[in-house]
């Protein structure tokens, strides 16, 4: 099992740097009018940052398959909640019952 893998601190500093850079980027981008892409950009950067935290700070990159399954599962489930709920709200314009 690789759960005892010790990550060298320089990796942490590097990730830290990228995260700060991304934060700066996301704030800057927000001040430009990209229309609907604003949300896309903001969320993409957020997902990217979260992925870095999960993989490196939380050691998932070096963890068991089970841990991967748990992480992916939680994201998938959140996706179910959002997707299926939106499938109601986004299609109400077509026709609602009642």
């Amino acid at each position: 099992m690789h759960t005892n893998h010790i990550v060298p601190p320089r990796v942490y500093y590097a990730i830290f740097g990228i995260l700060m850079l991304c934060t700066y980027l996301t704030v800057q981008i927000a001040f430009f009018d990209l229309g609907p892409l604003n949300v896309v950009a903001a969320l993409t950067i957020a997902v990217f940052k979260a992925t870095l935290v999960v993989l490196f700070f939380m050691h998932v990159k070096y963890s068991t398959k089970l841990t991967w399954a748990v992480v992916l599962g939680s994201v998938f489930w959140l996706g179910i909640l959002l997707a299926l709920t939106m499938s109601d709200y986004l299609t109400r314009v077509w026709r609602t019952y009642g």
Binding site: R95, T96, Y97, G98
Partner: protein, 330 residues
């Protein structure tokens, strides 16, 4: 004991037959599988009953073919049911293009209907047979639901939003209308009737000729029958406040507080007038508790509501202060 106990609702709308057909199909499937499973397990329990206390069953570890069979067959059956029911659902959810529209407002714990020509009803809905009717509904407070079992239709009535429900009655008669979404204390009392009439009777009813007049006209009649108009009159002989245009406004009470004239206040004024005495008037109004019924109360309230303001004379409009005090009554 069994007379008067129906076991199946009557079919009184064009959709009822379709819904019932689907229902019977599902019953058939259910009966089949229930008997199959129940029959098999009881049969096996008897046939393979343990005789030897140390007996062991004949292990069988399952065959792919059987597993696939009893996965695929239920899948196909359920898909058939799905397509059928989706078709019925689409039909129920889409009103035809030309309907008689009725506006409905549900509130705790009554239904108010208004027809396009102005007739208003409470807890009763008159419709003609053979023509599609669309209810355009909203709620004043919490979620309610209009349910007419004989028509097999139901739809939630939601505050802040309009929902629709349509049906086409096929048989004259009186049918239960229930509130089918729990809404508080008198949820079970929030019931009414849909009265389906022959076209001629419906026309008669529409023009107000039928005994069931609109609520406000009934109220008007009561107002004079009960001699309210002896005190509540706009001329100098009036001893009570002018009720024309009063509804919705604020009045000052003798106690100093101000109160808005809404349904509750009118109701209270009729039942316990001494409770809130309007400033500038003597407490001479008799109570009508026990003299008017609920229905009559509703009619009176509707009537007072419908009273339009009299032509404005100088300085008596809303919000215009006047330095003239109201004259004390004789």
């Amino acid at each position: 004991m069994w007379t008067g106990t129906p076991l199946f609702p009557e079919q009184a709308s064009t959709m009822a037959g379709r819904v019932d057909a689907l229902y019977f199909f599902l019953i058939a499937i259910s009966v089949f599988f229930s008997l199959l499973i129940a029959g098999l397990i009881v049969f096996y329990a008897v046939r393979y009953r343990r005789r030897d206390p140390a007996g062991v069953g004949a292990a069988a570890h399952g065959g792919m073919a059987l597993e696939i069979a009893w996965s695929v067959i239920p899948f196909l059956i359920t898909m058939v049911i799905f397509v059928w029911s989706a078709s019925v659902y689409m039909a129920i959810s889409r009103p035809p293009d030309e309907t008689i529209n009725v506006y409905v407002v549900g509130k705790q714990w009554m239904w108010k209907f208004q027809h396009l020509d102005g007739q208003r009803e409470i807890n009763e809905l008159h419709v003609p047979v053979g023509r599609p009717v669309k209810l355009i509904m909203t709620s004043e407070d919490v979620i309610h639901d209009v349910f007419v079992p004989a028509f097999r239709v139901k739809a939630d009535v939601i505050p802040g939003r309009y929902t629709n429900l349509w049906f086409q009655p096929t048989k004259p008669g009186r049918y239960h209308l229930f509130c089918a979404e729990y809404c508080g204390t008198r949820h079970s009392g929030m019931t009414g009737e849909v009265i389906v009439m022959e076209p001629n009777d419906y026309q008669t009813w529409l023009s107000g000729g039928a005994p069931e007049g609109s609520l406000a006209t009934t109220g008007a009649k009561l107002f004079s029958d009960l001699a309210c108009n002896t005190c509540h009159r706009p001329d100098a002989q009036g001893r009570g406040p002018v009720l024309e245009g009063l509804f919705g406004k604020t009045v000052s009470l003798q106690s100093g507080e101000t109160v808005t004239v809404d349904e509750a206040y009118v109701r209270e004024s009729i039942l316990t007038p001494a409770a809130k005495i309007t400033r500038g008037f003597q407490p001479i109004m008799p109570t009508f508790q026990g003299i008017v019924s609920e229905e009559q109360l509703l009619a009176l309230v509707e009537y007072v509501k419908s009273l339009q303001s009299l032509p404005v004379t100088e300085g008596t409009g809303v919000g215009e202060p006047t330095t003239r005090l109201p004259s004390p009554p004789k």
